[in-house]
């Protein structure tokens, strides 16, 4: 006898087709059933066609920033001004919520660690007396101390007597202590005054540190170990003819020969010298003088800056920027074989003839720079994209500029899509690079003379650190550090419709700018997958146990039914919560847990159905022909209880969808996928919009309700087909 009997298969197929046709005829007459079918069909199509319906990824896509928040309301002045020292030297070194600062009071210079407090005097977390007068700001460097095995912050600061101080701030003990002082004057005499904030280079091989210090005419490398008691040692000194003008900048670059990353120091000196130094021995990699170039122009250059992406060791951006008092931005290639002869004068961007330029601010991704030109005590801010920077020298390349209300000596800063610039007269303006309509977004006046602005993160509000704009005032204007807090509200969640950028949001967005419609469409997938999968497994388990209990009877029946009793009267959701919390929240575990808790109801119904089937003659005749128990259960009884199982599967789907929604709502959903319950979890978990964002609140809940309702309607229709008694007598 062949294993596959073709005729039997054909008969079976015809039977199934006939049964289906008959039942479909019955089903069609049921109005609610048809509505249910249409609902489910709609959601299934939504789930399948999700990528066609929306091209916005439910999690990764977010609304453009200009829709998300309004720069005009972004910053509000807060009344905390820190004025404790008479003078503040250089720029403070900002940490996440506080800053290191060098200041002097009554002629004594000190290093301070200060945390600004709103509306009361700032918290001085540490204070350390310095030897000599302060000249510039401190530099801090977080590190793990090898001897203490704890996080520490190293702070380096130099004075006019040529003494480099190292202090440590212990994050655990919250104390600022002095470690050592290193006297450069022993080697250099009176020219030892440390003019600029030191920089810290980390050696790749042994992760020891080299502190790079600039005195008037030379650059020094001082080694420092990782432990608290490590002794400093002067490694090298490199002398220059002119005065070193700026704080050196440090960046990684690839050596052309072996492609290995090395750290390079870039400096500029009086008279237009630009030099690159190797950080390990101070050897000059290349040096050239602007006056000797083809341009034959006397120029002094600002501090060189490197795109942030470069500093992280990426080699894609092999350029750095410096600007001169000739109104040009110089884009210098960063490789060791470069000589002055190779300078490509197509790479010199002409900004404004004869203008004194500020240090350029480079966007994080290197896609453009901001620079301010000063002509006759009036600054103008320019934005140049990388493409525009490489246009010929005599073309006016800055396509975007905006006149400011005074001269600017500090540099503009870029923070979260916005650039801020402060004039020396205390006028702060904010601009957005993506908006090219030359609009000033926001402006404010501060009293005093800002010399630098920075952004730090201050207060924890709704899971996010609020940024604070820190303004350091010039000592001539009384010094002090002033904080402006970002109190302006984010505009998201966005209501449905078209917003500033011209983007249309069918159902608006959530508070992180994610598209509600996309989330809704993709959420249908998870609801259906978990609903069907969990119901399927629950029905398989329930049917197997029900048939076994009903057919085998005896002790098996008693044990299985007692067990189902226990499961039935257990608080299911509570158990699910506990199980998911322990097992971990992912789709697989959610399906398993829902299935494990869903089988008992089905098992009971299937058992009673089996009990009545066992009495039927066909079971007896199967037994007489010598069929095994397993065969009778699977071949004779199971097919007959299948319609009932199917009915209960429909009910089970509703339960599974609701259970998954509840788990997700409680924050126990799979974080890797987007579901309707999670949308509501995000809404209620401190978004602050629970009672306002109806477009965020209604759609997921309505979707759950309508989908579950569809299954209930279908289940009712099935019920009436399977139990003809329920059909209405006409």
């Amino acid at each position: 006898m062949p294993i596959i009997n073709k005729k039997a298969m054909k008969d079976k197929y015809r039977d199934i087709k006939k049964i289906f046709k008959q039942n479909w005829k019955l089903f069609k007459t049921n109005k609610l059933g048809m509505i249910g079918l249409i609902i489910i069909f709609t959601f299934v199509m939504m789930a399948i066609l999700a990528p066609v319906l929306t091209d916005r990824h439910p999690v990764r896509w977010t609304a453009p920033n200009e829709d998300m928040f309004d720069a005009e309301q972004m910053w509000t002045q807060e009344n905390w001004v820190f004025n404790a020292p008479d003078v503040i030297y250089g720029e403070p070194s900002f940490r996440e919520d506080s800053f290191y600062m060098v200041g002097s009071r009554h002629g004594e210079s000190s290093l301070y660690l200060i945390r600004p407090e709103k509306e009361r005097s700032p918290d001085i977390m540490g204070e350390l007396r310095l030897t000599g007068q302060g000249t510039s700001g401190p530099t801090h460097f977080p590190t793990v101390d090898d001897s203490l095995q704890a996080w520490q912050e190293r702070v380096y600061v130099g004075t006019d007597q040529g003494i480099l101080h190292r202090a440590s701030y212990s994050l655990a003990a919250r104390t600022l202590t002095q470690d050592w002082r290193f006297n450069l004057a022993n080697n250099l005499g009176t020219n030892a005054s440390i003019e600029h904030a030191p920089i810290v280079a980390e050696n790749v091989e042994d992760s020891s540190l080299t502190i790079i210090v600039a005195t008037r005419n030379s650059i020094h490398g001082i080694s420092d170990g990782r432990t608290a008691d490590s002794e400093p040692e002067l490694l090298w000194s490199t002398n220059f003819e002119g005065t070193v003008l700026n704080q050196p900048d440090l960046f990684k670059r690839s050596r052309a020969a072996d492609l290995q990353d090395t750290q390079t120091i870039a400096i500029t000196t009086e008279g237009g010298d630009v030099a690159l130094l190797d950080h390990s021995d101070g050897s000059i990699l290349w040096q050239f003088n602007m006056e000797e170039t083809a341009l034959d122009r006397s120029v002094s250059l600002t501090r060189p800056v490197i795109p942030l992406a470069m500093k992280k060791g990426e080699t894609a951006l092999q350029t750095f920027y410096t600007s001169g008092n000739d109104g040009r931005v110089y884009i210098l290639p960063n490789n060791s074989t470069f000589t002055a002869d190779d300078i490509d004068f197509n790479n010199i961007a002409f900004v404004e003839e004869g203008a004194q330029l500020t240090v350029p601010e480079v966007l994080d991704d290197g896609s453009g720079i901001y620079v301010v030109s000063n002509v006759q005590n009036l600054g103008t801010i320019h934005y140049l994209t990388t493409d525009e920077l490489t246009v010929g020298p005599e073309d006016r390349v800055s396509s975007w500029n905006y006149p400011l209300r005074g001269p600017v000596s500090g540099k503009p800063i870029f923070y979260r899509e916005f650039v801020y610039v402060a004039t020396d007269h205390g006028h702060i303006s904010s601009f957005q690079p993506t908006r090219r309509d030359e609009q000033q977004l926001w402006a404010a006046e501060v009293t005093g003379q800002p010399k630098a602005i920075q952004v730090i993160h201050h207060r924890l509000v709704q899971d996010a650190l609020r940024p604070v704009l820190m303004i350091t005032h010039h000592e001539d204007a009384g010094g002090g550090v002033e904080g402006w807090e970002a109190l302006g509200e984010f505009l998201a969640p966005l209501s449905p419709g078209v917003h500033t950028s011209g983007t249309r949001y069918l159902l608006g967005t959530d508070n992180e700018g994610r598209d509600i419609f996309s989330n809704l469409v993709y959420g249908a997938r998870i609801a259906l997958i978990i609903g069907f999968a969990a119901a399927f497994f629950a029905v398989i388990i329930g049917t197997a146990i029900g048939v076994a209990a009903g057919y085998l009877g005896g002790i098996v029946d008693i044990v299985l039914m007692r067990l189902s009793d226990v499961f039935l009267c257990m608080p299911g959701l509570a158990l699910m919560i506990v199980l998911i919390a322990i097992l971990g929240a992912n789709v697989m575990n959610i399906v398993i847990v829902i299935a494990i808790l869903g089988w008992p109801g089905i098992a009971r119904v299937i058992r009673s159905q089996t009990l009545s089937l066992v009495q039927r003659p066909f079971v007896d005749s199967a037994r007489v022909t010598g069929a095994s128990n397993a065969r009778i259960m699977f071949r004779h009884i199971a097919p007959n209880v299948m319609p009932l199982s199917l009915l209960y599967m429909t009910f089970q789907v509703t339960g599974a969808i609701l259970a998954e929604a509840s788990l997700s709502f409680l924050g126990l959903g799979d974080p890797m996928v987007t579901s309707w319950g999670q949308m509501l979890y995000n809404l209620t978990r401190g978004s602050g919009h629970t009672f306002t964002a109806w477009w965020w609140f209604l759609p997921p809940g309505l979707s759950i309700t309508i989908l579950v309702m569809g299954f209930f309607f279908i289940a009712r229709a099935f019920d009436e087909i399977i139990n003809p008694r329920l059909r209405e007598r006409k």
Partner: protein, 321 residues
């Protein structure tokens, strides 16, 4: 009397079920992947305190000994010490029991009374538009997740209209006389109660309708009609009374359902009950409290089940074996 024997039998059954639930809990918490001690002993503890707790729970002993110790501790109410509050777990649990009983008990009574009435009218008006409306309405509300309907209530009556408070059980920080306090609690309970009733009522109403339709086909209804009894009397005395019996047996399943809804309703309305405790502590990984809260909830469900069974035996003379 036979009833007393039935009650004793049922009590033993409750106890056995409880033992099974405890065993499951034990297995869940001890046999899960990862370090089993991390579910029992606070990870932030000093080694000495850890050691002594290891000894107390017998975590250094074989599994069956742990099981015995665990059973003894749970049955005598020694659930351990909370990781979060450092209190004995029962101290955290005790103030939570009454609010849960109050909310769940009240809502259950209302759900059953209204559900039975609604089901009765649906069955009696079979085939009418009224019945169809009742069915669709019941199914719609049953399809709503408890938490979303609760949020909807909050959205409308606490957010927009500001008629009701957004959560809690009492107005905080106010001392008031007993009768005023009762009113205050009632005021806070209104929205959670409405939520649990509206979402929970559909299932009972549909069940009652079904059961009522079954009895309406019985011969004694035809007889009553033939006798010329008034319709109201037939509906209430003949049909509804007999239709009630299957409803009472269904209580077992629906209690668990209502409790599941209640747990999440408590979270939405910040109701200081066992359900919200269970969820917040689960998310905070305070496992001793989770175990304790789960155990108490299970006891409540089981006892309510048993009471409904006894009640059923009392109602139906056929059950008195």
């Amino acid at each position: 009397m036979k009833l007393s024997k039935f009650i004793i039998g049922r009590t033993i059954q409750v106890f056995i079920t409880l033992l099974i639930i405890l065993t499951l809990l034990f297995l869940i918490f001890r046999l899960m992947p990862g370090d089993p001690t991390s579910h029992v002993i606070d990870p932030g503890m000093s080694p000495e305190a850890r050691e002594s707790l290891m000894e107390l729970y017998g975590l250094d002993r074989p599994l069956y000994a742990q099981y015995g110790l665990y059973m003894r501790n749970m049955l005598t109410g020694r659930f351990g010490t909370s990781f979060r509050t450092q209190n004995p777990v029962f101290m955290d649990l005790r103030p939570r029991i009454m609010p849960t009983l109050l909310l769940f008990g009240t809502s259950m009574i209302i759900v059953y009374i209204l559900g039975i009435l609604l089901g009765m009218f649906m069955a009696w008006n079979r085939g009418s538009k009224l019945e169809m409306g009742g069915i669709v309405g019941s199914l719609t509300f049953r399809s709503m997740p408890y938490f979303w309907f609760g949020l909807l209530m909050l959205f409308a009556f606490a957010g927009e209209l500001e008629w009701f408070p957004t959560g809690g059980m009492k107005t905080a920080g106010v001392d008031m006389p007993a009768h005023k306090e009762a009113l205050d609690i009632l005021y806070h309970m209104t929205l959670p109660l409405i939520t649990m009733v509206i979402v929970g009522i559909g299932g009972i109403a549909l069940l009652m309708r079904q059961s009522m339709l079954d009895t309406l086909g019985e011969d004694y209804i035809v007889t009553a009609r033939a006798k010329g009894l008034p319709e109201n009397k037939i509906m209430i005395h003949h049909a509804a009374r007999n239709a009630l019996l299957p409803i009472v047996t269904s209580i077992a399943i629906s209690i668990a359902f209502i409790f599941a809804g209640g747990v999440i309703t408590e979270i939405v309305f910040s109701w200081p009950g066992l359900g919200s405790l269970l969820i917040t502590r689960t998310l905070a990984q305070d496992y001793p409290v989770v175990e304790g809260a789960f155990f108490i909830i299970a006891i409540l469900v089981l006892v309510m089940n048993a009471v409904s069974d006894v009640f059923y035996a009392f109602l139906d003379p056929r059950v008195k074996l």
